[in-house]
């Protein structure tokens, strides 16, 4: 097991879908930061279940209880600990999964690794529910970054073949529009595409099926020089954290996989001096990162999210006890699409990683 991450701001994430609580300890947060608890609650609600018809009917308040690390609402330098009680669990729904693993879930691999001792109920520690704990830490990181003039914006880029527009240049107008995306139930930059996406989800749901998508995330306002070369480059650290989020199948920065079809002369982003004497690039195929280090341009990455593996349709699987093929029908309450709920999680993970690396950036005291 390895549910810890970070060098300066270290998080340790705990909890199972149906354990008494989820929790997180965050070690190394700068002291003296006053957390806006209302803003944090609002952020938590963006991920919380039961928010709209596209997510599981399981209802959880997801309100963190802070057990340490604060004096009042201000960080005191000591490790911050927060928990969320699990209240609305129906473990009986999962009884048959101990023997018949769900396709595309960790039931089978966890059973082998933990020799049958894993917590089967609700997917245990492998449940997407664990991301609520990450969001507590990430929600605080987002506030800390914002105070430094750094904002993180994720939005749905694609769902089941339906693509949405993205900002083109992160102009002030586009940033305003991105800020409004966060407040939406369905966080898409381009509402027209959003309607098409919703239709896809509705259609899949009606068929007992599910769909996946792509989330785009931009970090705006990073100074030049954040990130280290090689294994602690921005891409290495962000990708390592992003793949900790269940259901992620890929990540790309800037031009991403599209770079394979371009000439160097097209892909290289020309430098120029802007009117304020800052060095910028005319295009942003590099996605704001050169040599693992931020260039001062928007840091842009995209994450592929697979279709929710829990579907109502009957599936083929095996019986672990009888060593034979066995059909599977999944009970329980599931999301036909988790992409919209994963949007704040991606922001949380990006914020934590950037904050951690920002602390190592010389001349940048938090």
């Amino acid at each position: 097991m390895s549910s810890t991450f970070g060098k300066n701001v270290k998080i340790s994430v705990s909890g199972q879908s149906h354990s008494p609580a989820l929790g997180v300890i965050v070690d190394g947060l700068p002291a003296g930061f006053d957390i806006d608890m209302d803003a944090l609650d609002a952020f938590m609600q963006r991920r919380a279940p039961g928010r709209n018809k596209f997510s599981t009917p399981r209802s959880e308040a997801d309100k963190p209880e802070f057990l340490s690390g604060l004096v009042g609402t201000t960080t005191c330098g000591a490790p911050l600990m927060a928990i969320i009680r699990n209240t609305n669990t129906r473990s009986a729904d999962y009884d048959n999964l101990r023997d018949v693993p769900r396709p595309a879930h960790a039931d089978f691999t966890a059973n082998e690794k933990y020799r049958g001792y894993q917590d089967v109920s609700g997917g245990g520690h492998f449940s997407g529910r664990i991301t609520a704990a990450i969001c507590i830490a990430g929600g605080i990181a987002l506030q800390m970054l914002k105070k430094q003039g750094i904002e993180v914006f994720a939005h749905i880029k694609r769902i089941h073949g339906q693509n949405a527009q993205s900002p083109t240049d992160y102009t002030p107008d586009e940033l305003d529009r991105l800020r409004q995306v966060s407040a939406k139930d369905f966080p898409v930059y381009d509402d027209e595409a959003g309607e098409r996406m919703k239709s896809e989800i509705t259609k899949a749901s009606a068929n007992g099926d599910s769909v996946g998508g792509v989330i785009e995330c931009a970090v705006i306002g990073l100074p030049v020089g954040v990130g280290e070369p090689m294994f602690d480059g921005l891409e290495s650290r962000i990708s390592a954290a992003i793949f900790a989020v269940p259901a992620v199948k890929g990540i790309e920065f800037g031009s991403g996989f599209g770079c394979a079809d371009l000439y160097g002369s097209e892909h290289n982003d020309p430098f120029y001096m802007d009117e304020n004497g800052n060095i910028k690039t005319k295009t942003n195929n590099h996605g704001g990162i050169l040599g693992g280090i931020s260039s001062g341009m928007p840091l842009v990455f995209r994450t592929a999210i697979k279709p929710t593996p829990s579907i109502a349709k009957r599936q083929e699987s095996v019986s672990l006890s009888r060593h034979e093929n066995a059909p599977l029908e999944i009970k329980g309450r599931h999301d036909p699409c988790i992409v919209q709920r994963a949007v704040p999680v991606i922001e949380a993970v990006a914020a934590l990683t950037v904050l951690d690396l920002l602390i190592d950036t010389p001349n940048y005291n938090l």
Copy 2:
């Protein structure tokens, strides 16, 4: 700077393009393994420059000198240290880059981060040349894995819009064919596509331009249970290491970004019991990983490699000293495409990561 990686097998990578030598210290290799030095040399040659007309004319033997960690050719439990002398350097080629950073290179970000103290020559520590040091460690890891029945196969999947076939099921015949790919100057599974790719490279080169591509890599023979959940999952650890390789823009596992267009009922890989009583999946959209843990199916991932940023064509940049726009013409010797040379590097990085996680797999003593 962070040029160290690994939990059990820890590598520390050092060197600049034009420093006296590159080097690597590998801490934690199991004792008692006899390195096949001929096989290691052959592996190093796959990455070495000057091998064919598609790579830089800079000629380097890239033969590692072992300074510690061995008794004869057998690992002794002590950290292994190996170096490669840089011999064929022409630093004068890089004089102008101190002032005018190359687009899509780390010249600009390194200059800001290290306040002008970075080694400009040949790209310094950010040069692709550093991957030679990784390949020493990775070449040994590949041999150790092979002894455990685990093989790693990378091949060129795409170059500038030209796609090559892949194995479909990793049958014994397909594995034999993959083993032959490694011996090729141009490591492609599908030679007909290889010819089309070579044409693209030749055309770009003739225009003073460059092209990028995609590399596919499969790890075959992994037992079930390798990898840890969350931040030490196979995807997290592999991606963190892969993005340390210069020029990587994206990584995807199994279905990757394609998952965004599938229904759950299509994407979920049905389990079945094979004739030997092993649990397998009918398809492999999960890419051999569920919940960060190996499923026993082939671990498959793809990596996007950008077009070589150093091109002969005149480009737009800025003068750091004069604070104004400035054109750039790059001298020096460069590859019109580095995808073919990156193939063994991807294998090396995958092998090191898998070996590191394998050591943590219970009941698996190396």
Copy 3:
């Protein structure tokens, strides 16, 4: 802040003396271990305050509440999280300490490091109370080790100049006697010396003063080969963890500082073959460790614990606000001696460190 420790079994410790709760997340515990909750409670009681007249009258049940990581009472491979609520806090006792730091406490250094944002109340995160969280993790580690035939025994070796006997050879009889030491209110191997020690404490207490001492700890039953050379040697890892316990001023292994007065011919422990064909040493100046690696002999170390810094006597200090010297009288409830309460903490820390290294010992599967 850095309140995390361990490579395989990673603990993250949280809490302040007067925060809502203390907590610990333990990542990497082997799955399938059934925790004896009664034994754990008994272990926690050995450290808990209010147990006898030599400790603070602050009364805390110190009963851990488990929030994740278990199915029933059995570890499931997921991170284990447990908390202890702080109930009996009297923060008003600490109001004056924000301005006038207590000598030999972290009040002053914390104030400088956290720029006044630290939690002053009860010493905040620097309070010895935090060791309760370590004891939860350590109590489980002790049980896991015991199942492997490894036992950890700490006892009071010295208090304010009064020395107690130690076992000489860890014979079966001596081990039985050590097992009984754990059950004592005042855990000393030699009760006669224990009475002299208690007199010293009583005398100090009557004078509004405090005393310190030395704790000896032995780990019995370790196989040969636990520990790694250099920075992950047994001494490096144990000492790093032991100094995390408040009030520790020194640590020595085997002969310790006494080695400075011996000849090599006296200090070298001769090897011999015992009647069962095991290699042992006639003496144990090496304290069971050679080159950082366990030798199979008892691992023995001693830890110096300073006199409790909180004393009733008036002391000299400074006013941080007025920038002048200022007298200090400490209110609150304090232990005249914490050595006896530190005994189980030393056992907990030793057990966690040994368990972590044991997992890396080849052919030793937990």
Copy 4:
């Protein structure tokens, strides 16, 4: 194996006593520091063998060759790599030790851990010779600290029962005298005691025996606030690094084990405001550290070094092949006392640890 250390400045140490070379990679050194190579050579000579009649006659120049990390003699932000060739090896001297392990050496434990594959010659990776590699990194760290006004002074405190004086208050005069200690062949603060110590060494040597001792080390000029609570406190980090030095049996900070005999009212160091408005303590039992964090007072610690285990006298051991007791006579060239040579090693280790933590100290940019 674990021969890596550090969070920000990470060292990876490599080499065996008789391998082609020793080496070190240092990742994370601040860029732009110009190394004084003459001063570094002089520092290396303090540890080098063959310097006087009290050390082994094996003669090694111990001059580091820098392979990367520099532009000229200035750090460039890339990992620094340096090696020292082993030239004067006589491996035949060690043939018999494969079968008959030396008492108090790692021969036996290494043989068990590495199943006979360890490098026996000269003690392999467990040899004190490895500290030469640490001294390269540490020598640079000492220069970096000095530029920040921080100096590290170690000297011999005790040898075989003979105690030397120490500075009492680290006054300017005492610091001048400490600076001269470094230049001495026999680095003792108190020359009269030094003569008594030398007599002890001479006497032991004449008898084919050896002696041990204690080294005291002070770090002067540390600002308040260096170090983190709990596991990354100054004591935790320094002790972990110090125990990586072969032959260390104990470490104590400030009052150390002596604290066990004092009342709290004696041991607590009263704070006062000095004439410049700085907060200081009247005594320094806390050794410059409170709660793991530097207080601004001199950081003082002492390290116990065991008698050199390689002695000419016949000893008792066992034959690993014949499973029976066997006498041992050690050939080879050995030091009758290594305390004087360990003095710069202690300084090197302290400097590396302090530099690493200093980088994490807010408002302190290197």
